[in-house]
C-alpha cells in the first residue's frame, strides 16, 4: 500500500514513548493535586486573604448613647469639641520623631512641650501614665478643648504641623446637672487597647480601633449597649488602592440611651450632704484619740425600698469625671491614682467595706429569734458583760435592766446581744463544737452578707462574714506570720501577745469572737450597698433586691425600650411578725432611741421613719460612723470612715436628704411643692417620635464650661 518503508518503529522507541507518556501524565496529576490543595484544602485561608487584599474599611464611629437620670436629664452625653490629634505614624517618620512639630504645637495650644510629648508616647510596662494605650495607628488626641483660633492656626499652617489634625468631634461630657457629680457611678472612657480588640474579636460585639470603651461605673457596665456599633464602609480597591466599587457596608448603629433610677437633684443633695457631714466631722474631737476626726472617706446610698433601685449614690472623696475626656493629663492621673492620693476613683458605696457596728443588730435580733429566743422576752441590759476574766463593755449604751429585743435595738444595748451570742456559742459546743448551728452566722449569710448584692456596677466587693470556715482559711493563710511574731510574747509586747493568741486559737470560733460579732464589731465587713439592700428588704417585707441603677435601655430611635426590672436574690429569714417587731423597734430608734435626737419634729405619723445607728471600732483607726434608715419608699444608708458616731456624724446629713425628698423644713412641716421626690419616679421619661428623650426641668442643668488648659479667653 505504501512506498514508505515501515522501519520507523523499533521497540526502543516504543518503550521511550511510553516513558514520555508516563512523564506527561505525572506532570498533569501533579498540577491537579496542587490545584486541589490550594483551592479545596486551603481555599478558606486564601479567600480571607483575598478579602484583606481588596477591601478597605473606613470606620464611622457610632454615637455613644447618653446616660440619663430618672427624669431624662443627661448625666453623661456628647458634645462637639475641637479636637487636636497627632498621628503617631506620621510623627515617627520624621527625623526627630516629631519632636519639633510637637513643641511647636505645644506653643500654639499653650501647653508644656513635655506634657504633649507624654500624651503621644505608647503605654508599656515601664511607661508611667499618661501614655497612649490605644492603637498606634490611630490619631492620638492632644486636647479636646482647642479654641477656634487655635484650630485655624493649625489648619492654615498645615505644612508646619505635619501629622497634626484639628477637627470637630463628638466627645463625652459629664454634664453634672444640678451640681451633681456621680463620678464613680458614671465611670469613664478610655481608648481600647490591642488586647481588648483581640479578645473581643470573635464576640458578638467586636471592637474597632477607634473605639473608646467604658472603664468603670455605668460606662463600663452598659458599655456594649451605650457604644452601639461603628459603621463600616467597605470599598473594593484595586492593586493601587484605587476605589473600584463599594462592597457590603454596615451602617453605624448609634448606641442606646440608658435611663437610670438616679435623680440628679437627689444625687446632688446626697453628695453635698455627705461632703458637709465629713467637713463637720473633721471639726469634732474624738474623745478616744484626742484629735479631730479624720473623716477620710464616706458614702451614701439612697434606694427605693420596694424595688432596690438606686436614686442616689455618692462616694467621697470624688473627682471631676471630665478629666478623662480627651486623654487625661499626667498631673490629673497622679492625683487620681497616686500613692498619696485619696483614691477618688473608688466607689465607696460598693467598694468600701468596714465593720457595720450596731446597724448589724437587726441581723443579730433575727438570728436570736430564729435560734428560739422570743423577741418580747426580757433580757438583761447590763452596763458590761463578763466571760471569764474578759469584760465586754456596753459601748454606745448604758445599763437599762431587763428589756425586750425591740428596746435593745432602740437603745442599742450591746450586752443583751453579748449574752444571746454567748449562750448560743455555748449551745454550739463552745470551744469543742459539735454540729454547731451557728445561727448568728447563718442569718448573716441569709441577709446577703459576704457576697456581692449584684448591683449593675462593676467591681463590687463582697464583704466578709467571719464564720468558722473563714476563720480556718484565714488562720491557714496567716499562722506562719502570727506564730513567728508570737515568739516575742513573753517580752510584754502587746501585738506579739495578740499574735501568739491568734497563732494558737484563731482557727477556732472563740467566745469573744462570737460576742463581738453579735454587735457588728470584729472581723465582719460590709459595704454600704449591702446594708442598704438589707434595710430596704426590712422595709418592703423581706425581699432582698439586686440593687439597680439602670432602669431602661432605649434604642437611639426610641423604638426599642428594654426595661430593667428589679430582681430579687433572696428573702430575709423572718416571719411577718418578727418583721413588724423589727420595724417597730427601728421606728422607736427614730422616735425615742439612739437616733431620736436627730429626728426632732419629724412627722412620724405622715412619714414613718425607721433608723439604726452604728459606730464601728477599727483597730488603729477612729470609729466608723454608720446610719441606716428607711421610710416605706426610701432607704438611706450612710457611712463615714473615721467619722465618729453614727447619729453624730451621719444623722443630720441623712435627715437633710429626707427633708429634700419629702419637702420638709427643719421643723418637720411638709411643703409638697418643695418635695423633690415624695414617692419614687415610676414612669420612664417621655420619648419623642424621633427618639429624643425629654428632659424635665432642673436648675443649673450644666455647670459653666470647664476652663481648658491653654484656653486664651
Amino acid at each position: 500500500m505504501t512506498n514508505i518503508p515501515e522501519t520507523g518503529r523499533t521497540s526502543r522507541v516504543t518503550i521511550r514513548l511510553v516513558v514520555l507518556q508516563i512523564l506527561v501524565v505525572s506532570l498533569l496529576l501533579t498540577l491537579g493535586g496542587r490545584l486541589w490543595y490550594l483551592q479545596i484544602r486551603n481555599g478558606d485561608e486564601y479567600t480571607a486573604e483575598a478579602a484583606d487584599n481588596h477591601i478597605q474599611q473606613v470606620v464611622v464611629p457610632a454615637t455613644r448613647g447618653s446616660i440619663l437620670d430618672a427624669r431624662g436629664i443627661p448625666l453623661a452625653d456628647n458634645q462637639t469639641r475641637l479636637v487636636v490629634s497627632a498621628n503617631r505614624t506620621d510623627l515617627m517618620k520624621m527625623k526627630d520623631k516629631g519632636k519639633r512639630v510637637l513643641t511647636r504645637l505645644a506653643g500654639v495650644l499653650g501647653l508644656k512641650p513635655e506634657d504633649v510629648a507624654a500624651k503621644v508616647r505608647l503605654c508599656d510596662a515601664k511607661t508611667p501614665k499618661p501614655c497612649w494605650a490605644g492603637s498606634p495607628y490611630q490619631p492620638i488626641p492632644i486636647t479636646d478643648g482647642a479654641t477656634t483660633q487655635q484650630a485655624l492656626q493649625i489648619r492654615e499652617r498645615a505644612e508646619d504641623f505635619p501629622g497634626i489634625t484639628a477637627e470637630p468631634m463628638a466627645v463625652r461630657r459629664y454634664a453634672g446637672p444640678g451640681g451633681s457629680n456621680a463620678a464613680q457611678v458614671l465611670g469613664y472612657l478610655s481608648p481600647v487597647t490591642d488586647d481588648e480588640i483581640t479578645k473581643a474579636k470573635d464576640s458578638r460585639t467586636p471592637l474597632m480601633r477607634s473605639d473608646q470603651i467604658g472603664r468603670n461605673g455605668l460606662e463600663r457596665q452598659y458599655d456594649t449597649e451605650l457604644r452601639g456599633k461603628a459603621g463600616v464602609t467597605r470599598y473594593e480597591v484595586d492593586n493601587l488602592g484605587r476605589v473600584i466599587g463599594k462592597a457590603k457596608s454596615d451602617k453605624a448603629q448609634p448606641g442606646s440611651n440608658i435611663v437610670t433610677s438616679i435623680d440628679a437633684r437627689v444625687q446632688a443633695i446626697a453628695e453635698r450632704e455627705l461632703d458637709q457631714a465629713m467637713k463637720d466631722a473633721r471639726k469634732e474631737v474624738d474623745r478616744n484619740t484626742g484629735t479631730t476626726y479624720k473623716a477620710d472617706a464616706g458614702a451614701v446610698v439612697v434606694m427605693e425600698s420596694k424595688t432596690g433601685r438606686v436614686v442616689a449614690m455618692a462616694s467621697n472623696p470624688t473627682y471631676d469625671p471630665n478629666v478623662w475626656v480627651g486623654g487625661i493629663s499626667a498631673r490629673d492621673y497622679q492625683a487620681l491614682t497616686g500613692k498619696d492620693s485619696d483614691y477618688p476613683l473608688l466607689n465607696r458605696a460598693i467598694q468600701g467595706q468596714a465593720a457595720p457596728g450596731s446597724i448589724f443588730k437587726v441581723i443579730s435580733a433575727t438570728a436570736a429569734v430564729n435560734a428560739g429566743y422570743s423577741f418580747t422576752d426580757k433580757y438583761n441590759c447590763s452596763s458590761s458583760y463578763s466571760i471569764g476574766h474578759q469584760v465586754f463593755k456596753n459601748f454606745e449604751s448604758k445599763g437599762y435592766g431587763p428589756i425586750d429585743l425591740g428596746r435593745a435595738l432602740e437603745v442599742s444595748c450591746d450586752t443583751v446581744f453579748y449574752d444571746l451570742a454567748y449562750r448560743q456559742w455555748q449551745k454550739d459546743g463552745g470551744n469543742n463544737p459539735k454540729h454547731p448551728k451557728d445561727w448568728f452566722y447563718r442569718t448573716a449569710h441569709q441577709f446577703g452578707l459576704g457576697k456581692p448584692t449584684g448591683i449593675d456596677l462593676p467591681n463590687e466587693v463582697r464583704g466578709r462574714v467571719p464564720d468558722r470556715d473563714w476563720k480556718k482559711r484565714y488562720w491557714e493563710a496567716n499562722k506562719d506570720t502570727w506564730c513567728k511574731q508570737g515568739e516575742n510574747a513573753d517580752k510584754g509586747d502587746y501585738a506579739a501577745q495578740i499574735a501568739k493568741e491568734n497563732c494558737e486559737s484563731f482557727a477556732r470560733m472563740r467566745a469573744g469572737d462570737s460576742v463581738n460579732y453579735s454587735i457588728g464589731q470584729g472581723d465582719t465587713l460590709v459595704t454600704p450597698i449591702q446594708m442598704a439592700t438589707i434595710y430596704a428588704a426590712i422595709a418592703n417585707g423581706g425581699t432582698l433586691h439586686d440593687p439597680t441603677i439602670g432602669k431602661a435601655i432605649i434604642s437611639a430611635d426610641g423604638k426599642r425600650i428594654e426595661r430593667i426590672e428589679p430582681k430579687a436574690h433572696g428573702t430575709l429569714p423572718f416571719d411577718r411578725k418578727t418583721r413588724d417587731q423589727l420595724d417597730a423597734a427601728l421606728a422607736g430608734v427614730a422616735t425615742q432611741g439612739s437616733a431620736a435626737w436627730r429626728f426632732g419634729g419629724w412627722p412620724q405619723k405622715e412619714i414613718p421613719m425607721h433608723a439604726k445607728t452604728g459606730t464601728a471600732e477599727v483597730a488603729g483607726k477612729q470609729t466608723t460612723s454608720w446610719f441606716a434608715s428607711y421610710t416605706k419608699d426610701f432607704t438611706i444608708v450612710m457611712t463615714i470612715s473615721q467619722g465618729g458616731t453614727g447619729s453624730g456624724a451621719s444623722g443630720p446629713a441623712v435627715r437633710n436628704i429626707y427633708n429634700a425628698l419629702y419637702g420638709l423644713d427643719d421643723k418637720g412641716h411638709i411643703d409638697p411643692k418643695k418635695a423633690l421626690l415624695p414617692e419614687p419616679q415610676a414612669e420612664l421619661p417621655k420619648i419623642d417620635k424621633d427618639g429624643t428623650i425629654e428632659a424635665q426641668h432642673i436648675d443649673n442643668p450644666t455647670p459653666p464650661a470647664r476652663r481648658e488648659e491653654g484656653q486664651d479667653e
Partner: protein, 399 residues
C-alpha cells in the same frame, strides 16, 4: 504529493467538494477531532479569561474593553488557519522546506538582539511590528528546532539504512538545536531555553538515539545550569524569581508579590470560583501579567477548581491524542515531531500552571492555547496542524 490516498483517487470520478470532504477516507474524516475540539475549547476559554482579565485595564485596552477579546479571537482564527495550512501542506512535504524555515527562524530570532528587538519584562525577545503587533520569534523556534532535529535524526532511519541514528547525526542534530538556544539564552529568555532543552531531550529520546546521549545531555543540562549561575549570565530579576520560589515569604511586595497574589487568586476560587468577571483579585488587578503568563489565575479565581481543572483536563486530552499519534505513526520523522510537540506542550503547561500554583519558579512562559499572545497562539496551532498532518498522512491500515 507522496500520499497514495490522493493518487488512487485521481482515477475516480469527479465528486463534489462536500463529498470529498466527508468521504470515509477523506482528510476531514481522518483528522483527530477530539484533539481539535479540546484545543478549540481551550482557545474559547482563553478568550473569556483574557476578556475578564483586561476589560477593566484602561491603560492596556485604550478604552475599548473588547480590545483583547477581539484580538484573541483573531489570533485563534489565524492559528486555526495556520494549522489548516500545515495539514494541507503535510508534514512530510514541509520536510523539504525545513532547512529554509530553520535558517529563517534563526535569523529572525537573532535579529531580536539587534535594535529591531524590544525588551519586555527584562528579556529582549520581541520584535515590534507596526500597528501594535509584535512577535516573539522564540515561540516559532520551538517548532523549527523540532522539525530540524527530526529531519536529521530520521533521515537514515526512515530510509531504512539504520535502526537508530548514529552518533554523528545526533551530534549534528544537537548542533542544529544549540544555535538558536544560544541566541535565546543571550536575550535572555530563560523560560524558552528551558522548554527548548526539554524538547531536545524528548526528541533525542524518541529518535532512538543511544541512551548515553540522553544521559549525557541531562548531565550537560545540569552542568549548564551551574555554569549559568556561576558565571552570572542571569540577570538579578531572574535570580530573584528563583529565590522567591525557594522562599515564598521573600519580599512579598517585590518579586514574591506575583506568586503570592497568584496563589491568593487561585486559592480563593474554591470549588466553583467567584463566577466569571466576579473575581476580586482579577477585577482589582492584583496579579500582574494576568492576561498572558498568569492567565491561569483568572480561571482559578473565577471558575474555581471545576474550571481550572477543566483546563488541565483539556490540555491532558490534547496531550493524550498527541501521544496516540506519536505511537501510531509509522515513520520516525512523525514520531520525533510528535514527541517534541508533546514535550513542549506538557512541559510549558506544567511550568506555566506550576508557577501560578507556586510549585515552579516564575518564568515568562505562556500557557499554550490559553495565554493571550499571537506568537504563542500561532505556534501552538501550527503544532496542532503538524500533529494532525502526521495522523492524516499515516498509511491507512491494510484492508
Amino acid at each position: 504529493m507522496s500520499a497514495d490516498g490522493f493518487r488512487i483517487r485521481r482515477f475516480a470520478p469527479r465528486r463534489s467538494t462536500w463529498a470529498r470532504l466527508t468521504d470515509r477516507d477523506s482528510v476531514v474524516r481522518r483528522l483527530d477531532w477530539t484533539m481539535l475540539l479540546a484545543a478549540l475549547a481551550l482557545s474559547a476559554i482563553s478568550t473569556l479569561l483574557v476578556y475578564s482579565a483586561t476589560r477593566g485595564r484602561k491603560e492596556l485596552t485604550h478604552g475599548d474593553p473588547y480590545y483583547f477579546l477581539l484580538r484573541n479571537i483573531l489570533n485563534t482564527g489565524i492559528g486555526v488557519a495556520l494549522a489548516a495550512g500545515a495539514v494541507w501542506a503535510g508534514h512530510r512535504a514541509l520536510r523539504g522546506a525545513v532547512p529554509v524555515l530553520y535558517v529563517v527562524s534563526v535569523l529572525v530570532t537573532a535579529s531580536v538582539l539587534t535594535p529591531l528587538g524590544a525588551t519586555i519584562n527584562g528579556a529582549r525577545s520581541w520584535i515590534q511590528l507596526g500597528g501594535g503587533f509584535s512577535i516573539q520569534p522564540s515561540e516559532f523556534t520551538k517548532i523549527t528546532i523540532t522539525l530540524g532535529m527530526a529531519m536529521l535524526l530520521a533521515q537514515a532511519v526512515d530510509a531504512g539504512d539504520r535502526p537508530h541514528p548514529d552518533h554523528r547525526t545526533v551530534l549534528q542534530a544537537l548542533g542544529v538545536a544549540a544555535l538558536p538556544i544560544l541566541v535565546i539564552l543571550l536575550m535572555p529568555d530563560l523560560g524558552s531555553v528551558m522548554v527548548l532543552v526539554v524538547i531536545v531531550l524528548a526528541v533525542l529520546l524518541a529518535s532512538g538515539a543511544s541512551n548515553r546521549w540522553t544521559a549525557g545531555l541531562i548531565g550537560a543540562g545540569v552542568l549548564g545550569c551551574v555554569l549559568v549561575w556561576q558565571l552570572g549570565i542571569l540577570d538579578e530579576y531572574q535570580i530573584n524569581r528563583f529565590a522567591a520560589f525557594a522562599n515564598p515569604a521573600f519580599d512579598p511586595a517585590g518579586v514574591g508579590y506575583n506568586t503570592k497574589q497568584a496563589r491568593i487568586a487561585i486559592g480563593s476560587g474554591g470549588l466553583t470560583g467567584s463566577g466569571l468577571f466576579h473575581g476580586s483579585q482579577t477585577t482589582g488587578q492584583f496579579v500582574p501579567e494576568q492576561q498572558t503568563d498568569f492567565i491561569f489565575t483568572v480561571a482559578g479565581e473565577e471558575l474555581g477548581f471545576v474550571g481550572a481543572g477543566t483546563i488541565i483536563l483539556l490540555i491532558g486530552v490534547v496531550l493524550w491524542r498527541a501521544c496516540r499519534i506519536a505511537r501510531e505513526t509509522t515513520d520516525l520523522y512523525g514520531t520525533i515531531v510528535a514527541a517534541g510537540i508533546i514535550a513542549w506542550f506538557a512541559f510549558q503547561s506544567f511550568e506555566n500552571i506550576g508557577m501560578t500554583l507556586g510549585i515552579m519558579p516564575v518564568t515568562g512562559l505562556p500557557l499554550p492555547f490559553v495565554s493571550y499572545g499571537g506568537s504563542s497562539m500561532f505556534a501552538a496551532w501550527i503544532a496542532v496542524g503538524l500533529l494532525q498532518s502526521i495522523k492524516v498522512q499515516r498509511p491507512l491500515a491494510a484492508p
